[in-house]
Symmetry: C2
Subunit: 770 residues, 2 copies
């Protein structure tokens, strides 16, 4: 763990420049707007250690699969998020001497991520080898109003001399992915052009043939006075730039404004894309920096009004939770159903493909409660649009008749992952897809979603479960062999309780949903029956009902807990505390076989099931299972502590709940796992948010009703959060003595607080004693 980020409620602050921390800061200070984003690389040339990364949503490369030993059924490729055109570059020379923080003496360095306004700001004084001293200030943002635009204001002030300041704003397509399997470059150049004060380049991805056009327009000012542009134009292979110079006297500030546009062929015809980018950059320039900044900043302030969490008495916690909310919103906005949430967002390129079950299990709850329902809905539609691919994926594995297996990792619906124990066996993800449909409808009340999209997905997933289980005379029930549960520290197990439970639940929910659509929308029902050939070959309803009734979900007689999987109770059940110091994390210290045969659980497994269907279990059952499984859990997934924090809160284990909350809260800000340099853990940020709102706040939606049971961690003086629920926006403030509910919307609603139903009229405040 590191602790170099200054604590501040609204800003992430780095003071002083330490090249050893640069890659970490590049991740932490990343900005994005859901359509594009990039690491907090410097604009000017930097010859020190850096991972230059700019990313464009939905643009990927199918990188040929690389394995040690091929297993039949592996996908042909792993889709990689592409490191794309570098549009931020502005090389700077002072009287011909290049500005490079790796060679200059740097002082008064600060890098700030202004979270309230979504701005990346940096300033420093650099003393060049010649002794010339300049002050530099830069402000950069990727607009959330004009999402094709990125804007930079770059200011240079000579401090101890007068001289020539040369700016070289550039666009560079000569980029490589850090995690290319075969050291290939994924981009080719389609075309480029540059003029006086503008430039553009269009790249094409190999194989997938996405086009991305990147353009800029520039303005130059001296001491606040706009200067005419008289640029030297540079165009080279995969590179375009302008070179502009200005004579600045001592203390006079030279400013370059760079208005960039990044447009991909997801949004523009290839024939027009280059001129679209040029036009967009020019339009941004006509709006001007101040206007762009104000629009962007206002939009961020508005966003915070819907999703902010305040924490009193703990600035580190306050900073961290806002950081997580910011990054979630920078990564995904719900504008485009083709997009999803990558494990690193726009902050790095590790783990390649974009979509894991993290989306449904962790991110969906966040967006459901903090944004317009259409944002969460887009995440569901994304999967609906991939249904055919999921059916094809299942067919490759021997399933038939429209059974669907959603991929473990995907970007376009096709499976990318290539570890058999995950790819083929971690099939509980299919249950996450169906539960997400329920979760969305339960939260939003949008029952129409079932008929429009949801039911087809549910039928296909239920068909998968039907074919995946088998009847066992010996067990007198349906069994499911050879799976990997959420606990990836065991592979190829039989009757994983969580997976069986999700299968059972899906089969039941699909039957209910069929009935509901049949009743509410018979025409659409008939259409779906025909489209899916439902029930044509056999009585599918009866088969599903039989499986749901008879699937094995064993309880251990000795301990009374649900058995994680067949044989789990045979293990040497020693608590995690028995692992000698220096031997954890075990995934770094134990060989894989030892981990597998140990009792240690990577992340919630049985407890993930109880969390998902909490209303079905009494507290005693929860307690028994928590007390049994949590001590065996090593939490070596960033997705583990949040579920445990929520359940601990539910059980009144306040210290434990807070301990788990702390494990994720500042995961990236404090570089807990020594891997922030690769990018941020975007999806686990949603988990931290859940720890606060579902955990401490005790927020649940059950039978379409909002329930709260807030606790106040003793480390805090108070906290507040907001929830979007069925048209209402509720601010919940928790103080030592009261829960204060403020309905900030025009929609009245009922809320259950500590089990008591309360009416909360529009625009009213309600206080409930604690």
């Amino acid at each position: 763990m590191r602790d170099y980020i200054k604590k501040d409620p609204w800003n992430i602050i780095e003071e002083g420049f330490d090249p050893a921390l640069n890659r970490i800061s590049e991740s932490i200070f990343s900005i994005g707007n859901g359509k594009m984003g990039q690491r907090a690389n410097f604009e000017e040339k930097y010859s020190g250690s850096s991972l230059r990364g700019s990313y464009v949503a939905g643009v990927y490369y199918p990188d040929k699969t690389r394995v040690g030993w091929w297993k039949n059924g592996y996908p042909e490729y792993f889709a990689k998020v592409l490191n794309a055109t570098n549009w931020i570059g502005i090389n700077v020379a002072i009287d011909g001497e290049e500005l490079d923080l790796a060679t200059a003496k740097v002082s008064a360095f600060t890098r700030v991520l202004n979270m309230r306004e979504g701005l990346l700001q940096r300033q420093f004084v650099a003393t060049l080898p010649s002794g010339k001293q300049v002050q530099v200030r830069s402000t950069r943002f990727t607009s959330i109003v004009d999402a094709d635009n990125g804007v930079i204001r770059y200011e240079v002030t000579p401090l101890n001399f007068s001289g020539k300041i040369r700016f070289t704003p550039l666009i560079d397509l000569n980029v490589f992915n850090q995690d290319s399997n075969y050291d290939e470059q994924f981009w080719t150049e389609v075309s480029r052009a540059a003029g006086n004060g503008s430039a553009v380049i269009t790249g094409e991805t190999k194989k997938t043939q996405f086009h991305v056009a990147t353009a800029f327009a520039i303005e130059l000012a001296l001491a606040g006075e706009k200067q005419a542009i008289n640029a030297e134009v540079v165009t080279q292979d995969k590179f375009v730039a302008n070179v502009v110079e200005v004579n600045a006297t001592q203390d006079q500030t030279a400013t370059l404004f760079k208005y960039a546009a990044v447009i991909s062929s997801l949004y523009s015809d290839k024939a027009a894309i280059q001129s679209d980018a040029e036009k967009s950059a020019a339009a941004a320039m006509s709006k001007g920096f101040d206007t762009l900044l104000k629009e962007h900043s206002d939009a961020w302030i508005q966003k915070w009004a819907e999703c902010d969490i305040t924490i009193e008495g703990d600035v580190a916690a306050q900073q961290a939770i806002r950081f997580n909310i910011l990054q979630m919103n920078q990564t995904y906005t719900g504008e485009d159903e083709r997009l999803n949430i990558g494990p690193k967002g726009f902050t790095g390129e590790k783990y390649g493909g974009v979509t894991y079950w993290d989306t449904e299990a962790y991110c969906l709850p966040f967006y459901l409660k903090t944004a317009d329902p259409k944002v969460a809905r887009q995440l569901l539609v994304y999967r609906y649009k991939h249904l055919q691919k999921a059916i094809e994926n299942a067919a490759k594995l021997g399933f038939k008749d429209g059974a669907a297996l959603y991929p473990m990792v995907t970007i376009n619906g096709e499976e990318c992952h290539n570890e058999w124990e995950i790819t083929f066996e971690e099939i509980h993800r299919n249950g996450a897809m169906s539960f997400a449909i329920y979760n969305y409808i339960n939260h939003t009340g949008d029952t129409g979603y079932l008929a429009e999209y949801g039911l087809e997905v549910l039928i296909a997933i239920s068909r998968f479960w039907r074919q995946r289980v088998q009847w066992s005379d010996r067990r007198n029930g349906y069994i499911m062999l050879g799976v990997t549960g959420p606990n990836e520290y065991e592979n190829n197990v039989n009757n994983n309780w969580y997976t069986n439970l999700l299968a059972q639940w899906t089969l039941n929910y699909t039957r209910e949903s069929l009935a509901q659509v049949q009743a509410s929308n018979p025409a659409r029902y008939a259409e779906i029956v025909q489209k899916t050939n439902f029930g044509a070959k056999e009585d599918e309803l009866a088969a599903w009902s039989d499986i749901a009734a008879k699937i094995v979900l064993p309880v251990d007689q000795q301990t009374g807990v649900f058995i994680q999987h067949d044989g789990f109770m045979d293990k040497d059940l020693q608590p995690m505390s028995a692992i000698p110091k220096g031997e954890y994390p075990i995934h770094k210290n134990w060989s894989w076989d030892r981990i597998l045969r140990s009792c240690y659980i990577k992340q919630a497994d049985v407890l993930q099931g109880i969390y998902t269907f909490e209303a079905n279990y009494d507290k005693e059952t929860l307690r028994k299972n928590f007390d049994f499984y949590e001590p065996l859990t090593v939490h070596e997934s960033s997705l583990s502590p949040c579920i445990h924090s929520i359940l601990a809160s539910s059980l009144g284990y306040e210290d434990l709940a807070y301990k788990f909350y702390l494990r994720t809260a500042r995961l990236d800000l404090d570089d807990y796992n020594h891997d922030t340099d690769d990018g941020l853990h975007i999806t686990s940020m949603a988990g931290t948010w859940m720890s606060v709102v579902e955990g401490f706040g005790g927020v649940r939606v059950q039978q379409g009703q909002l329930r709260l049971a807030p606790a106040l961690p003793k480390q805090w003086q108070g906290y507040s959060f907001r929830i979007t629920f069925r048209g209402a926006l509720v601010k919940v403030a928790v103080t030592p003595n009261a829960v204060i509910l403020e309905n900030e919307s025009d929609t009245a609603l009922n809320v259950h607080v500590y089990g008591a139903e309360k009416n909360l009229p529009a625009r009213q405040i309600l206080s409930v004693a604690r």
Copy 2:
């Protein structure tokens, strides 16, 4: 399957040249002498499809491991057998026109592997594009008398013209391994030299820094008359050659003799290696081709006298069994304890590393019964010398106090394999190591081996088993979690019956062996106790005894069979015949998860255990288990049918026994699995031999006694085999009415034939009615 090899009892014959079959033939006609060998590539240039491969025993490259997803504990590299210097090359030009069978018209082509004499012979008539016609004859062998030497006689006869025949004998170090992980070349050149009539080149392997010097000396003759050598000398990077020319009139034969020497730094000082190779080539030339050939051929004839099998009435079977015996002997001779038996021998480079448990389980029985005991002993000493590495290997996986885990694949004692389910979990191999010690002593009576080498290995392996099992209160026994049995179509299973059985047996055998050495050699016993720190920390004997007594080996109540592993009986137990046509081999048609959760067994697993300890089980137990497990077995390992053939013979299932025998007998000759082009299945050849001798012949060694119970497959008129046993050499001939035993040695012995004990005096013949 293909059927282009002509049937002949002593020769492998290809008639007519089909380029599409060339790579297959290159494998089948491979020659070797235990120290070096190579594929049956053409001497002259060939621009068609070919895998040029020459291999030198014990010379390897540690190729950096390549995986999709790294698992903690994986080895850093996979040791690759190296494609080494090409010493066979003799380019030929006729009046300046190059001879190349890819461009010439070829007729009267035959390629022959003369098995009785160990010779590769080829002849053909080539019509060059110019219309000139030559007849070519070549004879090549790698001497089993002077194992550093390879010798070629290459004859060219102009058939329709008189002209210049130019020979370019060459040595080429510019070779690549087909299966390099990172497309590297593994060789660098140390030095080279060439003179009139001779040349030499020394290569060094990267990383391992083996040196290999390859030299040749040449003779030239015209119409049988030796010619003076007047060579043009060529030396280039990694290449040396002589160019010699002779004028031949029509029907006059020009002959080039190439005497090569290949010496590795395993056998020669690096400082002297180049001159050693030059001297060796020169010495071979002074002996002369005819003498070298005669010595080599005589040695082969002598070898056959000890290990030949005859089969009457089935020339295809006769040819096949001799082919297998030949290849086993070409691959391994027991001269050097540092060498072992690679899965492809000297016939290809697939599967890289050299040593698998195949050696102990399949090859050892072959060498035990067909060669001097010192040959089999060397295979055991090889593992003894790797004991320290096996202890280090186990330590990497968390074991301690001198516990050893022998590697799954190795060349130098270090683990090379990188599939967790195999590398870390297929630990029954450790049992194969200990059983091999028993097997060797039981067969040879060399009880001294225990004290000298065996006991240390047994102690280390027993320590591994002790740490690998765990006590289970619930099972009231010791259990072993997370293993892969011989059936690699299941991974990460608990309580694999075969593995538990071998662990139990090893613990018992180690205890007996300790007692035996203590009694027979107390000084050495004391030394071993001290060296291994035996019993210093705890009463190891008592612990082993307790585990052996209480390890779980469950019998299924319903069927009475041994349970392959926990949960196996939950599977959908459909016979292999239920797999739809077109879906097998399942490893090519089913995704890996489907194979894993199916009941289908790749190769003998429970049955491998019963085979290994057959004397411990009555026929009824064998029958019950065979009838249960065999129908579930898909035999998708080349090592599977032989064990089933032997057990079927034992049960009197004659048709089945013969069916299984057929599945391996001509595996490579008929290219059954369409992969012979990569090289031969050397280790499974031993299995075919076992099918005949242990299967049809019913040969067993029990309590140090030789037992026979021969059956005669109805497809044969008779057969005979030889067995080396405790100083005696017995020929067993089986006719429709009798078993005729001939003691070809000066050592008398007792033999049990069909259960009746017989005395077989030296040099006597005994006939027993069938």
